[in-house]
């Protein structure tokens, strides 16, 4: 059955209308944030309906850079999140490969501990982890955050990837085994290329998670020069009142890299990509 062009046009139009309406709802708070960041003297938030500032100014953006060493904090955050993201995705994909493809002793126990690690509120681990970081000499340095970011995120990403890896048809792998391919080749030349969208998803989530992390960085860093961006942003909030224009300006600066990473990696979500790759 072939659809008539008219039906197709209708379907497309409905699609756009739906998407636009939903997008408007989704974007609204972000627009409000931008609008507030362009207003000065915003200890009290304006009405959410006044989305267009009367006298827009970039003063808040100038001020956040003037008052805090944001450039350095952005560099610290970038270093930590890029390194952590690479490690998280690499290690989690190896672990997921093991869980979905290999039989090894203790597999069940490890998988259960992984799920426990997923469900357990990490806030409650903060004191034992803090003491561990102290004993390992990982307090008070941006680099010291990395092992903890990676270790904490592994459960989630391994779980997500295990789900995706198990959908890769076994026949393909068996064919490779017949050809004498080892573990590493099966991982690197089969599972990874076939799971590009899943791995892209992990990169997007891992970057967001480590870029935004606040509680651990705040607890372990005591030196201003080691600070990460979320800690610096929180310091613009006062005990009794907060200049929201400034907080929102800093928050928008912080969101940009996350969006860039997302735009780059969402390109992997293209239907039909995997099968096309397989046939050749």
């Amino acid at each position: 059955m072939v659809e008539s062009p008219q039906i197709r046009r209708w379907v497309l139009a409905t699609r756009y209308i739906l998407l636009t309406v939903i997008a408007a709802i989704m974007v609204y708070p972000f627009a409000y944030m931008i609008s507030t960041s362009l207003k000065t003297r915003s200890l009290a938030l304006g009405s959410p309906l006044d989305i267009i500032p009367t006298e827009p100014t970039l003063q808040n953006y100038v001020d956040v850079f003037r008052l805090a060493d944001l450039g350095r904090y952005i560099a610290n955050s970038a270093f930590v999140s890029v390194t952590s993201t690479l490690l998280i995705v690499f290690l989690a994909s190896l672990m997921a490969f093991a869980f979905s493809r290999l039989r090894f002793p203790g597999r069940r126990l490890l998988f259960i501990s992984l799920v426990i690690g997923l469900a357990l509120p990490t806030m409650m681990l903060i004191i034992p982890q803090f003491i561990l970081a102290r004993d390992l000499g990982l307090l008070n340095s941006t680099a010291g955050l990395i092992p903890f970011y990676v270790g904490t995120a592994l459960a989630f990403h391994t779980f997500l990837l295990t789900g995706f890896f198990s959908t890769v048809p076994r026949e393909l792998e068996e064919a490779m085994i017949v050809d004498g391919a080892g573990l590493w080749r099966r991982y690197w030349n089969l599972i990874v290329p076939l799971s590009r969208p899943a791995i892209a998803t992990c990169i997007i989530f891992a970057f967001l998670g480590t870029w935004d992390e606040f509680a651990w960085a705040l607890t372990t860093l005591n030196d201003e020069s080691q600070r990460t961006l979320p800690v610096a942003i929180a310091l613009f909030r006062g005990q009794y009142s907060t200049d929201w224009g400034m907080v929102f300006a800093a928050s928008i600066i912080a969101v940009l890299p996350v969006i860039v990473v997302y735009i780059i990696f969402q390109r992997q979500f293209v239907a039909g990509l995997t099968t096309g790759g397989l046939k050749q």
């Binding site: 008052l67 803090f130 102290r134 705040l218 005591n222 006062g238 005990q239």
Partner: protein
């Protein structure tokens, strides 16, 4: 003396306090002690407590902390603070210069574990023009307040608003009615928090609420119109709040005629609640003499005056008279501080406060009588206080 000392506080990055500390307080200290490096670290206020507790567990506390007055007994009980009255040479000298009320908040198990650094209290705040339109002035007694409620209700104006029913909010009502929280040793609450006078204090507020003269925000309705916004929109006639309200209104609503007055008095007088911060020294400090030198510096007239300029009410009795020259609005705060009282200094306070808030909430709503609610608080508080005796 030489070395490095670390000092944690919770002033926001864009606050004038941070500017004063970095540009005036520390440089002045270094003129006297050029070889001591002071590392001041800002921690977001909402997370300071969590960071302190974790650092205490990991033995990683800084030398000095500017802590809420309510935390001193708790930290002292953990064993992480230096008992200044026993171990700091200059203690008696410094203690004699500060207001006795704030000083008492640092006492735990017979020793003083901190010194007050800045103080504050709540006074009545209102718009004089709004009250003027009704031919009213600030109520000086609870009877005035009740009469005022009836007048304003005709135009749907709430006589009073507050955004919670915890100790900070409710204790001025209890104390002003002649009530109390615990005995002088902070060892028992029964017979004090549920005394007839304490019950009358809670009833006064509850009856205003039940008559529709106090808005829902007192029940913790976080979607409701906040006290500041309601005052500005002339929907709330009066609120109780601290000196920072003037900084906020000056910035946000510069045309608003914010006026202060002492709290209306009841059978016990006009008694407000003391807030503020103390400076404490930690047991893990590696350089206690240098830390003591900086601590003394923070309590010098020079530094206290500089901090007063950016909104921190000094704790030195000697500065009381000159404060009005710095900020005219300090007048009623200094006056109110003469009789204001502090929340009981006990490690159990955070839990007693939560219990008080939950039970008084029911009394305000009318689910319990004030007597029933405070009897429950007394029972729970007795058990908590017993744990720390």
């Amino acid at each position: 003396m030489s070395g490095t000392i670390s000092f944690w506080h919770a002033y926001a990055t864009d606050s004038p306090e941070v500017k004063t500390i970095d540009e005036i307080v520390i440089p002045a200290f270094n003129e006297q002690y050029p070889d001591i490096e002071v590392q001041a670290l800002a921690v977001p206020y909402d997370e300071l407590r969590q960071k302190l507790v974790t650092a205490a567990a990991g033995d990683q506390l800084p030398d000095l902390v500017r802590a809420d007055i309510g935390w001193v007994a708790e930290l002292a009980n953990l064993g992480v603070l230096v008992p200044l009255s026993a171990e700091m040479q200059q203690f008696d000298e410094l203690a004699s210069t500060v207001y006795p009320g704030p000083l008492e908040t640092n006492r735990w198990a017979g020793e003083y574990y901190g010194l007050p650094l800045s103080t504050n209290t709540r006074v009545m705040l209102y718009s004089s023009s709004l009250l003027g339109e009704y031919g009213l002035t600030a109520p000086s007694t609870m009877d005035d307040m009740n009469a005022m409620a009836a007048t304003l209700a005709e135009d749907d104006i709430f006589v009073f608003a507050d955004n919670g029913a915890g100790g900070w909010n409710i204790l001025p009502w209890i104390w002003s009615a002649g009530g109390d929280i615990t005995d002088a040793d902070v060892s028992v609450a029964s017979g004090y928090i549920n005394s007839a006078a304490s019950v009358r204090g809670v009833e006064a507020l509850a009856s205003l609420y039940q008559a529709g003269n106090v808005p829902n925000v007192i029940l913790g309705d976080s979607g409701g119109l906040g006290p500041w916004e309601g005052l500005e929109q002339r929907v709330y006639a009066t609120i109780y709040d601290g000196p920072w309200t003037f900084a906020y209104f000056g910035n946000q609503y510069p045309d608003f005629d914010l006026t202060s007055a002492p709290l209306p008095s009841g059978a016990g007088g006009s008694i407000s609640v003391v807030g503020g911060e103390s400076i404490v020294m930690t047991q893990s400090s590696g350089n206690k003499p240098a830390a003591a030198a900086f601590l003394s510096h923070l309590l010098s007239e020079e530094v206290q005056l500089e901090m007063a300029r950016v909104g921190q009410i000094p704790v030195l009795e000697s500065l009381g008279a000159s404060l009005v020259d710095i900020n005219p609005y300090y007048e009623h705060f200094v006056e109110q501080l003469q009789t204001a009282r502090a929340r009981p200094a006990t490690p159990a306070w955070a839990q007693i406060d939560a219990l008080l808030q939950a039970e008084v909430w029911k009394a305000i709503r009318g689910e319990l009588t004030a007597q029933e609610a405070l009897d429950r608080v007394a029972e729970g508080a007795d058990a908590l206080l017993a744990e720390y005796r």
